[in-house]
């Protein structure tokens, strides 16, 4: 097959990859904040639950989590289609890593900021919401960018539960045409371009948010 014939098929796969990425990113982001903040500030039982979630999903591997959700949950009467299982598994996995990012960034805000907020008699909630979080947000962006790229790479795992993403298309095309060099080379390139685009996006976001905060002196 000509490259001009291969490319559209692979781009179809890339579209699926992008779709899974866009669906699981918000899941991961929401879980990161919920679990990260719960682990820091919630009452002990909730805090322990957040901790178990974080340690469990960081301690086992993404592919096993995906298989478990897709192949084992049906034993409990919970049948998820491959797409839903993928989004949930990837979201849960990256969300656990993101929770540690959130926690680290909140802890990195200088203690004096917390003390000033106490001295001004803010409620615990406003301390977090108005003083601590706005400052830690900027610190979260670069690690979140890295995690988003990790998530993008992890989407390739869904090919193993028969979703027609970029990796799946590459594998089936390679099996059919035996043009393995061109196909896998091209696919690596497509992933690379996607990763670069995401890195660019997050750098832009950081610069934009940072511009406001440079004036605020969060970064000198």
């Amino acid at each position: 097959m000509e490259l001009s014939e291969l490319t559209p098929i692979l781009l179809q796969g890339a579209w699926i990859t992008l779709k899974i990425l866009c669906l699981s990113l918000p899941v991961a982001g929401a879980l990161a904040f919920i679990a990260g903040l719960t682990r820091l500030f919630a009452p002990t039982p909730l805090r322990q639950m957040a901790r178990v979630y974080i340690e469990f999903f960081r301690g086992t591997s993404a592919l096993i989590q995906l298989y478990w959700i897709y192949f084992v949950l049906p034993f409990f009467g919970l049948n998820l289609d491959a797409m839903t299982a993928s989004v949930i598994a990837l979201g849960l996995n990256i969300g656990a890593y993101g929770a540690e990012v959130v926690r680290g960034s909140v802890l990195a805000v200088p203690k004096g900021q917390y003390e000033a907020a106490v001295a001004l008699n803010f409620t615990p909630w406003s301390r977090l919401w108005r003083i601590i979080l706005p400052q830690s947000l900027i610190n979260m962006i670069p690690p979140f960018g890295n995690l988003a790229i990790e998530l993008m790479k992890a989407t390739s795992l869904v090919s193993l539960i028969t979703i027609g993403d970029l990796t799946y298309k590459a594998k089936t095309l390679a099996d059919a045409t035996l043009q393995v060099g061109e196909i896998f080379g091209l696919v690596l390139l497509i992933y690379f371009v996607m990763a670069q685009a995401m890195a660019f996006l997050f750098r832009w976001l950081e610069a934009r948010l940072g511009r406001g905060l440079d004036r605020g002196g969060l970064r000198s």
Binding site: G112, E115, A116, A119, N121, S126, P134, G212, G216, L218
Partner: protein, 257 residues
């Protein structure tokens, strides 16, 4: 005679194994301006931090306006204070920090209005009007829209003072407010405090290394040494004719420095 506005009764404070205060007693009258001097590690700042509820105590009672700060009365017993009680008590106090601790993501004006709006529920207009008055008081009307990073150390600290005043505290705690400043910026900050002191509308408790300033504005000076008040009295007595040898040695070191 009225009861003191601040009263420490047999207070104990430990850091790990190390006892900083033991049976510590101390009181301040309403409207009094008290300077606390002494070498570092003697517990000066801890005293202020206990009052601002940034450090708790391990024994004894601290009273502010007659009410226990770290405790609540339950029947005739005192039990540890809950968050609600602490929040109520904090309203009496305001603090200015050595390292300013301004909120870097807010303009000077916003630093001042944030707490009155969020904590006291003031309207934005009212809070901003008061903020502008306070900025005028500290001579920074034109810096209202600047972020902390755009201000000099002295300007930052003047915003810090305005921020504390905006909450209308009765007791103002000043924790080495000029120690982090370059020498040429110290006076602009002290001038603000001088003016406040003239009005005598606050009770002020300041930890400072500015001896001349302490002598000038204080009603009383306390020399702290190893978690005790070794000597206290009117500034003229402490600075001119201290009784204790250690006080003398400390002051001599300052004069020759």
């Amino acid at each position: 005679m009225t009861s003191p506005i601040i009263e420490f009764q047999n207070v104990k404070k430990q850091f790990g194994e190390l006892a900083l205060f033991e049976n510590f007693n101390f009181s301040v009258e309403e409207g009094e301006i008290v300077s606390i001097i002494g070498s570092s590690g003697s517990g000066k700042s801890t005293l202020l931090r206990i009052l601002m509820t940034l450090e708790d105590i391990d024994g004894g009672v601290v009273r502010v306006k007659g009410e226990p700060l770290w405790h609540m009365s339950k029947g005739d017993r005192l039990v540890p204070a809950d968050k609600k009680h602490l929040r109520k008590m904090r309203n009496h106090m305001g603090m200015v920090f050595q390292h300013f601790n301004l909120f870097p993501h807010m303009t000077a004006r916003r630093n001042i209005t944030e707490a009155p709006m969020r904590v006291k529920g003031k309207s934005r207009q009212e809070a901003e009007r008061e903020a502008m008055d306070l900025l005028a008081l500290v001579g920074l009307q034109d810096k209202a829209d600047s972020y902390p990073a755009q201000l000099s150390g002295g300007q930052k600290q003047r915003v810090g003072i305005a921020r504390a005043l905006a909450m209308r505290p009765e007791i103002l705690l000043l924790d080495e407010i000029t120690s982090a400043l370059d020498p040429e910026l110290v006076d602009e900050v002290l001038d603000v405090i001088r003016n406040l002191a003239k009005e005598h509308s606050f009770t002020m408790l300041l930890v400072t290394h500015e001896m001349y300033f302490a002598r000038e504005i204080s009603d009383r000076v306390c020399f702290f040494d190893q978690g005790r008040i070794l000597e206290e009295g009117p500034p003229d007595k402490i600075f001119v004719a201290p009784e204790k040898e250690r006080t003398q040695a400390f002051l001599n070191a300052f004069i020759s420095a």
